[in-house]
């Protein structure tokens, strides 16, 4: 991979510790994410990767440590505030709105950008209608980008797994996020679907300049895509660095790579 120039630090994670009751899920984790990079978090099952994402977007509140996003160290954050700050995510276990179509799911991703009020929407004339059309245009761009034109009107509950993952990515993209958190976007996919998803991740990063935090189990994918990698193991941070360096790290080989494959 060619040498990429990384931008300023946008997200700083400092000494985060998270417990559920007596169980320590994250133990003194610190790393940063730079503007425009693809930052991976890897580790065996139960290492605390998803929990880390949940801390970043305010779903879990850590007992210790601080998160600094865009120069501002945050206080206790409400879940919906992450979206307002430009953080979007997808879930390990797809969390789509099952009863709604692909189109509506992605349109819902733009909820924060819609300014018309309820009365205007009830009348559906003037501003409300203009907004619907304008956002529909943007959503259609995303649909084209993800190549899901054929399933626009289908309720997502009826779509195959791989397609649902794509729609969920579309919903996250609809918010035009600055920071995109992807929790195992390729899990359970066949090779072809994985390749498509890799391409989308790279294109999002490249074309829109979106900073991406990626959790992924497929080492090939991680090594190919990432600028830098954090390795977690049972809540502990084992390593942090560029893929090549992490790959050679003895602690990582022992704890993770050796065990998993």
């Amino acid at each position: 991979m060619y040498e990429r120039k990384l931008g300023d630090v946008v997200l700083q994670v400092d000494g985060i510790s998270l417990s559920f009751g007596a169980m320590r899920v994250l133990n003194n984790i610190s790393f940063n994410v730079r503007q425009g990079e693809i930052r991976s978090i890897i580790g065996p099952n139960g290492a605390g990767k998803s929990s880390m994402l949940n801390v970043i977007n305010g779903v879990y509140h850590p007992q210790q440590g601080a998160i600094t996003y865009r120069g501002k160290t945050r206080d206790l954050m409400k879940v919906h505030e992450a979206a307002q700050q430009g953080i979007a995510r997808t879930f390990q276990n797809i969390a789509l709105f099952k009863g709604m179509s692909t189109l509506d799911n992605i349109m819902t991703g733009r909820n924060l950008k819609i300014k018309s009020n309820m009365l205007q929407q009830a009348i559906y004339w003037g501003k409300a209608q203009r907004e619907e059309i304008e956002h529909r245009r943007k959503v259609e761009e995303i649909i084209d980008f993800l190549e899901i034109q054929a399933i626009r009107k289908i309720p997502v509950g009826k779509l195959p797994y791989g397609m649902q993952k794509r729609v969920e990515l579309g919903r996250a993209l609809a918010a035009e996020p600055d920071l995109l958190l992807l929790d195992e976007p390729m899990a359970g996919m066949n090779v072809e679907e994985k390749e498509d998803m890799c391409r989308f991740v790279l294109d999002i990063n490249d074309e829109f300049g979106t900073t991406i935090v990626l959790i992924e189990h497929d080492m090939g994918v991680v090594m190919d895509l990432s600028d830098r990698v954090v390795v977690l193991d049972y809540g502990l941070q084992l390593a942090d660095g560029p893929p090549d360096e992490v790959r050679r790290n003895q602690a990582v080989i022992d704890a993770y790579l050796g065990v998993s494959n």
Binding site: A88, M100, S116, Q121, I133, R136
Partner: protein, 359 residues
């Protein structure tokens, strides 16, 4: 291949976002409106207009209200009767305290007052969900009816606890309440309001707020993560739903029955409306109408059908049969087809779209 979308290419998003995108559906809707506004008043007897069409329309409006809350926003409510009562009593207090107010204003204001009450009773929805929320709304149902019975102020201290609508006209002497109102006037007045509110509701559910409601219904945590605030979104559903239920209650008391006691809006009413949306279709505008038509017409059908085939079934047996049919249907729809009659209609259309070729 009479009914199809093939050959209809939409060149603008506006066309693709229209309420009815298939040409035949639009014709059907216009025809239906023509029938409702012109044909039915022309050919129907006073009895049909006054005792079948009016309750059908008004209950459909209440079902529409409940469907917003339960079908779209996913908040199960058993307080519909209480909200209808609120609308009825608000209309009564307004109409008697300010006799110069136009009936339209009275009805809209009753809806607004009920929206406020619904907002209040919707507050617990932030903390509790599903079954527990249903119990909380049931409590509000009992509380509201108790309140209207308990405090004479609501009935202007009428000894019987019954309220009667004063004669009121939309304009001139077009009375829609009281003894001078004709069945046609009442019907057309109610129909106009119900059609307008149905259109408004359709607009809401195809806009951002509707998507937010459905997002909360389908996966609340994901909704929050994409920036939807739980409390305002749920409260808007409670307020708008109660607004419609309040208007339905006011129409029921003023235009349909003319005089009413709180008991007309007891918990049985709440269940009746809930059954309407289960049978008609959760999360569907048309479902509210189909469900209401079904529940209003089924008893009439059941009590007349035996005569048509020359059978003589005692009345109490018929009402038992009615219960059994309802029970069976509700179980059927809950288990087999949660989207109700509206979904069956949809399926029929999908079949029709392919007909006569199966593929």
């Amino acid at each position: 291949m009479l009914y199809r979308e093939a050959g209809e290419f939409k060149s603008t998003y506006q066309a693709d976002q229209a309420i009815l995108t298939i040409r035949q559906d639009r014709w059907f809707m216009w025809a239906l409106l023509a029938v409702a506004f012109v044909l039915i008043p022309l050919v129907s007897s006073e009895y049909w207009l006054g005792t079948i069409m009016l309750p059908f329309l008004i209950l459909a409006l209440a079902a529409l209200g409940l469907n917003v809350l339960t079908g779209y926003a996913g908040q199960l409510s058993l307080g519909t009767g209480g909200f209808m009562a609120t609308g009825a009593f608000a209309a009564y207090k307004l109409a008697t305290a300010f006799p110069e107010l136009n009936i339209l204003i009275v009805i809209l204001m009753s809806g607004a007052i009920t929206a406020g009450v619904g907002l209040l009773f919707g507050l617990p929805s932030l903390r509790i969900k599903g079954f527990y929320l249903a119990v909380a709304t049931l409590a509000s149902q009992f509380f509201l009816i108790w309140m209207f019975n308990k405090f004479g102020w609501f009935t202007n201290y009428s000894a019987s606890g019954v309220i009667s609508a004063p004669p009121m006209a939309v304009f001139g002497d077009n009375f829609v309440t009281g003894p001078y109102a004709t069945a046609e006037a009442k019907y057309l007045f109610t129909l106009t309001l119900v059609v307008l509110f149905a259109l408004m509701t359709k607009n809401l559910v195809r806009s951002n707020i509707g998507r937010e409601w459905m997002a909360v219904r389908d996966m609340d945590i994901a909704a929050e993560i994409i920036g939807i605030k739980m409390l305002p979104t749920k409260l808007k559903a409670f307020a708008y739903s109660s607004f419609l239920c309040g208007i339905a209650g006011a129409l029921w008391a003023f235009v349909y029955t003319g005089s009413v006691e709180p008991l007309a809006f007891d918990v049985n009413r709440s269940f009746q409306i809930l059954f309407m949306i289960i049978i008609g279709g959760l999360g569907s505008i048309m479902g509210a109408f189909l469900g209401s038509a079904f529940i209003v017409l089924l008893p009439i059908f059941l009590s007349n059908a035996p005569h048509w085939v020359g059978l003589n079934i005692p009345v109490d047996l018929i009402s038992h049969i009615e219960f059994m049919v309802f029970g069976a249907l509700i179980i059927f729809f809950l288990i087999v087809e949660p989207h109700g009659l509206a979904r069956l209609w949809q399926l029929l259309k999908e079949k029709l779209r392919l007909w006569p070729f199966p593929y």
